[in-house]
Symmetry: C2
Subunit: 340 residues, 2 copies
DNA sequence: CGATTTAACGAAAACGTTTTCGATTCATAC
DNA sequence: GTATGAATCGAAAACGTTTTCGTTAAATCG
């Protein structure tokens, strides 16, 4: 039941531990004959190298960390899947931690991962994160770090993002083109770059199309939940009876809003058109189906790992690192929550 | 930039490595004064124990593995969240791998995890898994293993499940009570215990309520996807024009069916009542909202980790292990896809 | 005061690899 | 015959902890 070690193989073959080790790694200074012999007994005894010892010796664990704000979330699930898929191909395992949108937790998780000595970290920031010392510290300690989706522009590392501003512009423009004149915006919290960029895209689209920007039409949400969608849909109707379109920061919120509008008899899209963001699966299933921006989570995960992998490799070979920002394409998915 | 080691602390304080180590772990044979001194310099130099060395020495990694069939999945996401939450509290990290419902992949992932020497493994089986040698091998090697949701009764280990049979019985009975006479069933593949039990619950409910069981009303699905829901909804109408209720193995499929019925003008629940299974978030949002069985994913994750943790602990202390099966409560969520 | 206990520390082995550097043998070259 | 080189192998250090077992000095006891 005990685990087989190199030493045992060496003893059965009357060899030294070093030769056995070298035989397994195809060193040139061990004869073909003993290589064959070693490999045979390895099979026979079902030897598996002790990962702990290998880690200690090679100073790497072939494991990376992933920190996301929330696991039960269509977009992040897709990202996770992409990361795991790509990582596995390269022989890496991934440890997943959740920040719960809390800066404090995020810091703690980062600490945990670096003390576990993962080879690199992938992170999507919590909404509350405004201070970036914890991230810069990691970079200073030369631990490869790649940010995705919810990033901080100011932190100097590789990133993979979408063009939130452009996508929001497209979404808003689509509302305008379909005839909307008074367009509201449900935005995310003040901090994350995402929320800011999507808001700016919305604002620009209005201005560039001769619609005056009215700050009272912009609602700042906190946790971007379904319930908030319900709540602010009601609130909006109370505040403004002339709104005919909403660009909403996230599908989940949009779905809350649609449900509320359905409930109280406001017709979507006849009375109010709605565009969401992210293209959650749910959006193609709600009635009316939701026009939205497709955000490629799976690809984002794959791309993020690819960047991290490159950095890990170059770091190992002591080559200079050049940080890169990859921007992924989004596209407008036209459905039934908007007029055409 | 280099990592601080015990040796460096020892040298700065003119102590030996052993005393420093013991000071940090509050051994009784080191004076309060030096303990204080050591802890101060540890703070000062920002010493973090080298996890690789600790692992090698203690023969444990404080890491567990998790294998699930699919990451982008409401139920499994919830399980993941529960596991991570509970594991973190006990100082464990979790590595997530995906089997993609493939037996071969499942075997490979299990191998990966055990060669990484995780302290324990949590697994929900792939649909294709009929042979359990890979699982029994792990148990033989005394690697703690807990199965959840999609389990194999025959494998001797701890498990956490729901009573699929009872839940399916409840669901079907509810259809009967609401007046349905011809009730179809969309079931999962032949293998997983889940599918079998839910099918048996369905069948029993019919028989016990004087409705003859008609095998032609049972449709065997393969991948339990939205598209299959759409497809079999259409197929069912072609095959039987007298069906007035369906008990569907999974919400995602049920939602596909509802969408299809909506599209072709079959009224739910007036023409056909539908009950799903799992209570995905989506189910409360589709129109009509879906009556379903709530399956507590988050709790299942927490419970599964708790069992695993106990086993890891007892194994470490060389105490006898008694395998346990925890059964979690489900409940019927009555919504608009059924008559009342 | 000698014997024994107690307190505080250090030496060293061990965990299982990887890799450098010699050491040995044997063939080849001059 | 000596010198050079290739071909094989092994010894040993190193990675950074943890823990056992001594060792020393001071304190306690009869």
């Amino acid at each position: 039941m005990k685990q087989v070690t190199l030493k045992q193989i060496a003893e059965t073959l009357n060899l030294s531990v070093s030769t056995v080790s070298k035989a397994l790694k195809d060193y040139p200074d061990v004869s073909k004959k003993t290589k064959r012999l070693v490999k045979e007994t390895v099979e026979l005894l079902n030897y598996k190298p002790n990962a702990f010892a290998v880690n200690l010796r090679t100073k790497e664990s072939k494991t990376i960390g992933l920190i996301i704000p929330e696991v039960v979330h269509h977009f992040f699930s897709s990202v996770i899947k992409g990361i795991i898929a790509k990582a596995e191909k390269k022989g890496y395992l991934v440890i997943i931690l959740q920040s719960n949108e809390s800066y404090e937790l995020e810091k703690k998780q980062l600490d945990l991962l670096s003390s576990k000595r993962v080879d690199g970290i992938l992170i999507s920031l919590a909404n509350g994160t405004a201070d970036f010392k914890h991230l810069n510290d990691l970079i200073l300690h030369e631990l490869p770090l790649v940010m995705f989706d919810k990033i901080a522009k100011i932190v100097n590392c590789s990133k993979v993002i979408i063009n939130d501003r452009k996508a929001a512009y497209t979404a808003t423009k689509y509302l305008i083109d379909s005839g909307c004149k008074r367009i509201a915006h449900f935005r995310g919290p003040l901090l994350p770059q995402n929320s800011i960029d999507r808001f700016l895209g919305y604002k620009n689209a209005l201005i560039e199309h001769g619609i005056s920007y009215d700050p009272s039409l912009v609602y700042i949400l906190k946790d971007m939940s379904y319930d908030e969608g319900v709540h602010f849909a009601g609130q909006l109707l109370k505040d403004h009876n002339d709104v005919d379109g909403i660009f909403i920061n996230t599908d989940l919120v949009a779905i809350g809003a649609i449900t509320e509008f359905n409930r109280i008899g406001v017709k979507v899209p006849e009375d109010i058109s709605i565009v969401g963001f992210s293209n959650w699966f749910m959006s193609s299933v709600i009635s009316p189906t939701l026009t939205t921006i497709d955000q490629p989570g799976y690809e984002m995960g794959k791309e993020a790992f690819k960047l991290l992998y490159k950095e890990i490799k170059r770091r190992k070979e002591n080559l200079p690192i050049k940080f890169k920002t990859v921007e992924l394409e989004t596209k407008l998915i036209k459905r039934a929550s908007t007029r055409n």
